[in-house]
Amino acid sequence: MNVVVLGCGRVGSGLARELEARGVEVAVVDRDQAALDRLGAGFTGRKVLGTVLDRRVLTAARVEQADALAVVTGSDEVNAAIALTARRLLRVPTVVARLYDPRTAEVYQRLGVRTLAPVSWGIQRLADLVTASPLSSVATLGTGGVELVEVRVPALLDGRPADELEVAGELRVVAITHHGRTTLATGASPLHSGDLAHLVVGVASVGRLSTLLAHH
């Protein structure tokens, strides 16, 4: 897989290094040499100096041949314009843009561009974390009726099957992390004290899960 990252700020440079660590072939574009230097000596991907609005610069980064493009410059306008053009004119299969305004996400999704509003996303996540019960909510699924939560398996559940934590239509154990390894769970999968159990829970049933854990 090869990915082009447009913009080499904190997000762009970190993303490029992360992708490289995952074995992805990466090219990074920025108009500022100092920004490209953030990538450090260990980065072996291509670095292209130039403005992302210039077609020759994108061609030098081989955007037309890329499997995916991440547009993460500091400007929403530039990110949106380049993402739309890359998707619709250059036909890049996957295009993701950072936009600070999260309200526009649905519109861009319809136009073929995936968007991420990191500040807004971070705020939501922080709000979730500071208001969370001992059950740690990892993600909200779909439109918000279902939460993915993780709980530390208490000693009293040691050796019991996962379905002791299940209630049909309300709670289900989907995975268990045991000694640092996460695997999908069935109702018969054994729980061990100290494991991390990953559950999907209807929001109305979060209290019920707390009760179940307390009773064990």
């Binding site: 609005l53 210039d54 077609r55 400007s75 929403d76 306008e77 530039v78 949106a80 314009a81 380049i82 739309l84 053009t85 619709r88 004119l89 305004d101 309200r103 526009t104 519109v107 319809r110 136009l111």
Partner: protein, 144 residues
């Protein structure tokens, strides 16, 4: 030109001149400008033109300003990326029949494409250069 509202995005010199001419021709025109000072100046200079303080790249602002009733959207801000985004939203999201966008820097002309919703792209540098040559030729300037 079709009847119906013309929405001009960007109330700088070009947007102002365009709105004034459209208004003088009897067209209904609304200008979106994000800078409050420009909005105030425009409203004082051309009381007949409707001016809204709003960011044209924000889909909900476009909708609130009545883009669904517009037959023409002209994106004439000083920012090429913003002009492309406005045209794309106008055509692809709001199905505006005609979109016109201003190209500030000729190096960005490739972004102004029918696939991104731009019907007519106006390259100001090229246009002005041609106008200068035409006038020089009319005056019989040697070499023109």
């Amino acid at each position: 030109m079709t009847t119906g509202t013309t929405m001009v995005i960007g109330g700088g010199r070009i947007g102002t001149a365009l709105a004034r001419q459209l208004h003088a021709m009897g067209h209904e025109v609304v200008v979106l400008e994000r800078d409050a000072t420009c909005v105030a100046r425009l409203a004082a200079q051309d009381p007949g033109v409707r001016v809204v303080q709003a960011d044209g790249v924000d889909p909900s602002a476009l909708e609130a300003a009545g883009i669904r009733r517009a037959s023409i959207v002209a994106a004439v801000t000083g920012d090429d990326a913003a002009n492309v985004v406005v045209a794309a939203l106008a055509r692809l999201e709001f199905a505006v029949p005609h979109t016109i966008a201003r190209i500030v820097d000729p190096a960005h002309a490739w972004l102004f494409d029918p696939s991104t919703g731009v019907d007519i792209a106006v390259d100001q540098a090229e246009l002005l250069a041609r106008a200068i040559l035409d006038r020089a030729e009319l005056r019989g300037v040697p070499g023109a």
